[in-house]
């Protein structure tokens, strides 16, 4: 039962895995660009989670057709994720522009070297 339960909920498990992987990358990678990739992996985990929340097995896109009875997926989480994607995009843009500035003034994007220069 346990295994089938996990199998049936695989999107949730993957989303938690992606999320954890994302912030692990942010904490452990020395390369600043990789940290930004970590941000994006983390955010993807969250997006997957929200999409899984909204999904209903056999659900159709929520466009109402007169006289047709069918199951629709929940559109609200998808709408939220649109906002989330925009936010994630702006965070990535801001982070990358800071990294460009860091490279221009310190000539490195590796955290240990950066810390050495700052001392």
């Amino acid at each position: 039962m346990e295994f089938n339960f996990l199998l049936a909920n695989y999107p949730y498990i993957f989303s938690i895995l992606l999320f954890s992987l994302g912030w692990l990358i942010i904490f452990t990678q020395a390369n600043l660009i990789k940290k930004v990739i970590g941000i994006n992996i983390m955010e993807s985990g969250i997006f997957l989670f929200f999409l899984a929340v909204g999904d209903i097995t056999g659900g159709k896109p929520p466009i109402y057709v007169e006289g047709v009875e069918q199951i629709y997926v929940n559109p609200l989480p998808s709408a939220l994720i649109l906002t989330g994607i925009v936010v994630s995009f702006s965070i990535t843009a801001l982070a990358l522009s800071i990294i460009i500035k860091i490279y221009q003034s310190y000539r490195t994007i590796y955290m240990p070297e950066l810390l050495k220069i700052m001392e």
């Binding site: 983390m42 965070i91 500035k101 860091i102």
Partner: protein, 492 residues
């Protein structure tokens, strides 16, 4: 009718101000600061109207676009929202008055107008955050605030701010990831994003699925803890707050970390109920974290040689007080926390602004380089001393009243640890602020610098913040009535 609309109007008005500011910056740079002051002054007026009306007629709610609660976005005008909106508008206004003379000197040439746009954007974000009654809207506002606060750190230019800002951005992103995940869990559990409806649903669903509820709570507390700089999650705070320009530091330290504490309060007492939270032992976890924050923040501040880093570590300690007030789980505790939010916003922004003037004059952030500055800038140094005394908790100043309220709240709830902790932390505060004051006034440099105060605007801003501090300290009853009411509404 109009009053319900007012909290939303405040956010919208400030946001419109932020969006037209770049045009001013491009074609009419001289008009930027007067326009910012005008918008913020109007905000203060609207916030005072909101506060007086809310306190006499009770909390209000407005639904954006006329869509009723479960679907529409709710904007709340309750006690805490009204108090915070007024506090935000007040501190921002006087910071800009101060900045009118310093923005040109501290920032790269020609950035003033864009900086004003950022200031209005962050005030709109903070106001939106405290009035929001909808979980996802909260998340959006949290992102507005955190992205614009990263930009505020960056605004100073130069290479020193870059690593600090990147660190801030990365940790803030992890924090908002946790918050969004927590909101997602709450949505699964309740099917609502509106706080009131979600709370009603949580009454039954929270008991049915306790583990999911705890996971949601954990994610929200971790996320908001990172954003608010609660002790083990504070690592970004000293770097970001100490390298930014002094006006940015005043806002970041005085306001930005506080609005997240307000969100924690709103979630704890309006989304969850205190019985539900006490069953999870979150109160003890927060108590331990805030005691650790108070002690560790003070001890770190003790060893700092850089004045702005000292102030930033002091903020870490003071955030501990606010969370201590929340962790007591009583109306008294909340009252103390709200009072401390106001008192600390006033004194920390004053300290950062005064320190900014002193540092600019001395040309160095090291404390030992500030020798004799008390003689060169008596008023500014005097205001710094006043803020520091309030931080230590001298009677007749706001810092004393908030410590007193927190100690009483702790005593009433049977937690006998809090009273000695307040005394100990007061002594620790004295241990790191008094040497700075000694350096300012009693150790003269090689040659005594000539006595020149800064521009009038700076002194005016410091004076206004000091007046607020004294009023809160000498006649706390004036504001306490509002705060008591706000705390009891929040408690529900």
């Amino acid at each position: 009718m109009v009053i319900e609309f007012l909290p939303f109007a405040l956010v919208l008005f400030t946001l419109v101000g932020a969006f037209i500011m770049p045009f001013f910056a491009r074609w009419f740079p001289r008009g930027c600061i007067p326009l910012t002051l005008g918008v913020l002054g109007m905000d203060i007026f609207m916030a005072v109207t909101l506060l007086t009306s809310v306190m006499t007629h009770g909390p209000t709610a407005y639904y954006i676009g006329g869509w009723a609660a479960p679907w529409g976005i709710e904007v709340r005008g309750d006690g805490i929202a009204a108090i915070m909106v007024l506090l935000i508008a007040f501190i921002m206004f006087w910071t800009v008055v101060y900045g009118a003379s310093s923005i040109g000197k501290e920032l790269p040439q020609g950035r003033g107008g864009w900086y004003c746009a950022l200031l209005l954007l962050i005030s709109a974000g903070m106001m939106g955050l405290v009035v929001s009654g909808d979980l996802f809207n909260m998340y959006v506002m949290i992102e507005v605030v955190s992205l614009s606060s990263v930009a505020l750190v960056l605004a100073k230019g130069g290479r020193e701010v870059l690593p600090a800002a990147l660190k801030y951005l990365l940790l803030a992103t992890i924090g908002s990831g946790f918050i969004l995940f927590g909101i997602g869990f709450t949505y699964i559990l309740t099917g609502h994003l509106n706080i009131g409806f979600a709370a009603a649903e949580l009454m039954t669903a929270g008991g049915e699925y306790p583990y999911l509820n705890w996971v949601a709570l954990t994610f929200l507390v971790i996320g908001l803890g990172v954003k608010a700089g609660l002790f083990p999650l504070h690592v970004w705070l000293p770097d970001a707050h100490s390298t930014a320009a002094s006006t940015s530091s005043a806002i970041l330290s005085g306001l930005v970390v506080k609005v997240y504490a307000v969100v924690v309060m709103r979630l704890f007492f309006q989304l969850y109920t205190s019985e539900m939270l006490l069953a999870t032992d979150i109160d003890r976890i927060l108590l331990v974290m805030s005691i650790a924050a108070i002690l560790a923040g003070s001890l770190f501040a003790l060893v700092q040689k850089d004045l702005k880093r000292l102030l930033a570590y002091s903020t870490v300690a003071q955030i501990g007080y606010i969370f201590l007030g929340i962790s007591v789980f009583s109306i008294m505790g909340l009252e103390g926390a709200i009072f401390h939010i106001i008192a600390h916003a006033l004194m920390k922004s004053m300290l950062f602004l005064a320190a900014g003037s002193l540092i600019f004059r001395a040309g160095s952030r090291q404390i030992e380089d500030l020798r004799g500055m008390g003689k060169a800038m008596p008023f500014t140094a005097g205001m710094f001393t006043l803020g520091a005394f309030s931080m230590i908790g001298f009677p007749l100043l706001a810092g004393f009243i908030s410590k007193y309220l927190l100690a009483i709240a702790g005593w009433d709830s049977g937690n006998l640890l809090i009273l000695p902790l307040m005394v100990l932390s007061g002594l620790l505060n004295a241990a790191y602020y008094l040497p700075v004051i000694r350096v300012l006034f009693w150790s003269s440099g090689e040659e005594t610098p000539s006595k020149v105060e800064g521009e009038l605007g700076r002194s005016l801003a410091l004076g206004a913040l000091a007046a607020g501090l004294l009023i809160m300290g000498v006649i706390p009853e004036a504001g306490r009535e509002f705060i008591q009411l706000a705390a009891s509404w929040l408690w529900g």
